[in-house]
């Protein structure tokens, strides 16, 4: 079973202070730690599990800058067979649609049984590239997948709905699945794997290597454009308790007792 996995190298901003660049086109990336987007990490693990069960090769792809090699190498270290980085200045400013277009061009003439993506990227959170890519490649798809099972050229997958409910569906291969977090337990790369991955070559493709016009990528090829970025106004702010841990604890308990909740 040959699998293509699309991943994204993103900054971890969960506990970081964020500042917007002066040109309002992005955030300041200095000092931020980058890693594979969380759902993509589960997607690569799902590919590794399927490869262990059915054999085949895993190709991992990303659209991003040279620094994204870090994420690609980690995927190779875990057991992906080859990595492709799609890098070109002219890709900059691509929205989810244009990004899917770039990926589609790189994937369309390769042999695969399955394409996996994360269901949503940690940075822009659009949850758009995977399902868009499926349509461009003419593949059946399922989004928010939380379990997979393969049988006779078909897959039975669970999709996560709201409120703890799952939808079970059958999908014909080749197909594209967007993977939800929690589907498996992502492994860590072994030291041996990391050493081996250092020696592997990462294929780098630019716009000229793809059968795409310049107008199909970047801002020109995008269907939405950024007007501005801003730090959202905080409404209904919490009353922040100040002091040592003992002081704030004492104050909080008093408040909660007065409100009759403890």
């Amino acid at each position: 079973m040959d699998i293509v996995v699309c991943v994204k190298h993103v900054p971890d901003t969960t506990e970081a202070e964020i500042a917007i660049r002066d040109d309002e086109r992005g955030i300041k990336k200095e000092g931020l730690v980058f890693d594979i987007s969380e759902a993509d990490n589960y997607a690569i693990e799902e590919a590794l599990l399927l490869k262990e069960e059915f054999g085949g090769a895993i190709t991992v792809l990303t659209v991003g800058p040279p620094e994204a090699d870090e994420t690609l190498r980690m995927c190779l270290a875990k057991g992906a067979d080859q990595a492709v980085r799609l890098t070109d200045e002219r890709f900059e400013g691509s929205d989810g649609y244009a990004t899917a277009r770039i990926l589609a061009e790189a994937i369309k003439d390769t042999d695969y049984d399955l394409v996996l993506t994360g269901c949503q990227a940690d940075d822009d959170g659009s949850a758009q590239v995977g399902v868009t890519l499926a349509e461009m490649l003419g593949l059946p798809h399922a989004a928010l997948v939380v379990s997979t099972e393969v049988e006779d050229g078909k897959m039975t997958v669970h999709r996560e709905l709201e409120g703890g409910l799952h939808e079970v569906l059958e999908i014909e291969l080749p197909a594209l699945l967007t993977i939800q977090t929690g589907i498996n337990e992502p492994r860590y790369a072994s030291i041996f794997g990391i050493r081996k991955a250092m020696k592997k070559e990462i294929e780098v493709l630019d716009l000229d290597d793809l059968e795409l016009a310049e107008e199909a990528v970047g801002e020109a090829g995008s269907r939405t454009s950024l007007v501005e970025l801003f730090i959202p106004v905080v409404t209904a702010q919490a009353t922040i308790l100040e002091g040592s841990p003992e002081e704030v604890s004492s104050e909080l308990v008093t408040i909660l007792k007065n409100e009759g909740v403890v």
Binding site: T13, E15, E17, I18, I20, G96, Y97, D122, D124, G125, S126, A127, Q128, V131, T132, A134, E135, H141, A143, L144, T156, R159, E162, G163, G164, L165, H166, E167, V168, L169, E170, A175, T181, E185, R223, T224, L226, V227, E228, F230, I231, P232, V234, A236, Q237, A238, T239, I240, L241, P245, E246, V248, S249, S250, L252, V253, I255, L256, G260, V262
Partner: protein, 322 residues
């Protein structure tokens, strides 16, 4: 202006809340764009839903077909593409839900329509449509413009748009013949599976102490469990803690887990992603402990402590015991 379509969401015999939230927003946009508002209802034996929706739209377009009983994005896409080609709406709204996320990007691509996903704002300014959406877990907002087109699409974040029951619009129900011909073999709905219910039902507790990514390791969980016990509450968690397998799925609070409304909700090391907040914001009193002062959880909390949870949690537990 062509009409505004709102795709009604329903599951297991109920219209989903996001349907009404979209119709509320749709009415506002319909006024701004001087366009009629149509609810689009695909299903089987959904006459009651259609009647309900006439209160909130000028027209309810109903496609009845046994093959539409359960959501299937492949089938929905065929029917909607047909309906859109026929009626030529100028805007289609869908939910940023398990349904909309599975359908909107492929439908928009098929129809060559610009799409903005997970919108928390959608406005018309000088005749142009703009979307506002969040990035970086809600720490940054982005305003987007759409490329000029005949048809625009947007998915709206669930529980982000208020819905108030207003004067009924008294719309008409319009039955549309199902355009479906052959069975779609490449994707088939099989069944629903309910999450297993464990020994503790977190939706029934008066006090819920929920732990998030800030707890760092599974070995640190007893720290928060002790606090939950001291407060007479139950231990719950946000998605990352459940994904990591440190708590069972029935303890997960949020859109894809449980919705809780306790008297007291104490969020420990939870940043407050919108999917989490959707499952706890109706709690009477919300307290958040997080060392990041910019964490979105402080937007919904009544009381906040900006400090290291590993210092505050033991102090608070001791205070309650003493």
């Amino acid at each position: 202006m062509g009409e505004i379509f709102v795709l009604a969401e329903h599951r297991q015999g109920e219209l989903r809340d996001v349907t009404f939230e979209m119709l509320g927003k749709g009415q506002e946009l319909a006024a701004a764009m001087d366009a009629p508002l149509a609810a689009v209802l695909l299903g089987h034996d959904v006459g009651d839903f259609a009647t309900e929706l006439t209160k909130h739209a000028n027209q309810v377009l109903v496609v009845e077909d046994a093959r539409l009983e359960h959501f299937n994005s492949a089938v929905y896409q065929q029917v909607l593409a047909h309906l859109i080609a026929e009626r030529k709406p100028s805007l289609v709204l869908m939910g940023q839900s398990a349904y909309g996320m599975d359908l909107a990007p492929s439908l928009a691509t098929q129809l060559d329509s610009p799409l903005a996903t997970d919108c928390v704002g959608l406005e018309v300014e000088d005749g142009h449509l703009f979307a506002v959406r969040e990035m970086y877990g809600g720490k940054v907002s982005a305003k987007l413009a759409f490329r000029q087109a005949d048809l625009y699409m947007a998915t709206l974040r669930q529980a982000a748009f208020p819905f108030e029951e207003g004067e009924p619009l008294g719309g008409e129900v319009v039955a549309v013949d199902s355009p479906l011909t052959e069975e779609i073999a490449y994707r088939k709905f099989l069944e629903y599976v309910e999450a297993a219910v464990g020994e503790v039902d977190i939706t029934q507790a008066d006090v819920v102490v929920a732990v998030g990514r800030g707890i760092k390791e599974e070995d640190n969980l007893p720290l928060v469990e002790k606090l939950a016990k001291a407060m007479g509450g139950v231990l719950a968690g946000s998605r990352p803690v459940v994904d990591a397998g440190w708590l069972p799925p029935d303890r997960q609070v949020g859109q894809s887990g449980k919705t809780v409304k306790p008297k007291l909700y104490l969020a420990v090391g939870i940043s407050g992603a919108s999917q989490h907040v959707a499952g706890m914001k109706a709690s009477s009193t919300i307290v958040a402990i997080n060392k990041d002062p910019d964490a979105p959880i402080f937007k919904v909390a009544d009381y906040g402590i900006v400090d290291d949870l590993f210092k505050v949690v033991p102090a608070l537990t001791a205070q309650l015991a003493g």
